[in-house]
Symmetry: C2
């Protein structure tokens, strides 16, 4: 067993079948402790759950919110442009927009300069709705701040700034 990375001796009771009750939080994570990806994944799950819960009344999920926000700030974008900017596949964006268009929050307008593409716009209803979504999202963000601390949240945003 070539000892290269984190060698960890199996903890207490490496026996078999039988075992004493384990207090669930005294279970060692071993090498996982040093992996940013693991921590990030757990945090992301928490943060999405809070977002979904906080925006539960208006039934808006994180991805939908990101699409609405970008369209709201950049009216006339093509689907391709939105997809690229948000790192969403254009195939997936189609369904997202279908849903948002059915809810009368967004409309696809056929572009006259490029008849392949659509120009994305918020409806009037979509704009007032987005304003409300933004208030709720800000509330969610305060939950995040309360959870990890104001300074930590800002440092986090700073560290991950160039992934956005």
């Amino acid at each position: 067993m070539t000892a290269t990375a984190s060698q960890t001796s199996p903890r207490k009771r490496a026996g078999n079948g039988a075992a004493r009750r384990i207090d669930a939080d005294e279970i060692g994570l071993d090498a996982l402790i040093g992996h940013a990806g693991y921590a990030v994944r757990r945090f992301q799950i928490w943060i999405f759950q809070d977002f979904i819960k906080t925006l539960g009344d208006v039934d808006i999920r994180p991805t939908q919110y990101s699409v609405l926000t970008v369209i709201g700030a950049n009216p006339g974008l093509s689907q391709m442009a939105v997809a690229k900017r948000l790192g969403i596949e254009r195939a997936r964006l189609v369904h997202l927009l279908d849903s948002l268009e059915q809810r009368r929050l967004v409309k696809r307008i056929k572009s006259k300069t490029d008849r392949r593409s659509h120009a994305m716009h918020l409806t009037t209803q979509g704009e007032t709705a987005l304003a409300k979504f933004k208030r709720l999202a800000a509330e969610h963000e305060r939950h995040v701040e309360a959870r990890i601390g104001k300074a930590n949240r800002e440092r986090l945003l700073q560290i991950l700034a160039d992934f956005t």
Copy 2:
């Protein structure tokens, strides 16, 4: 339009259909900039892709790695204990273990003290395999460090420590 959260005037060319070419990275994210969840999501996608690529030869995904690591460090755990510790649903863990057991990395041993549960163990083969996975995972972690910087990575781990 009650100005509560981030009011942002639609950028250039709020017109309709026709529009000039947009350079794709000059598209404003508006309120998204201030949301930790968005940055975390984008980062998590990047980090998982790198993990999957780096461990591509051995065909191990992040979740599988986390399961193997925890079982390796805590032999004899029940499926329930593993699931709870990793925040995985026990229903999902069943399939994960089915796969890992078929690959002879893990074995379920019927517990004698509680005949409902199984005691999870790595096979001998599983232990040597895990050692290799850990080396590759460490390599992946160096990619992360190279991407966001050594100090930032450590700060990140520290900030998110209690989500693990």
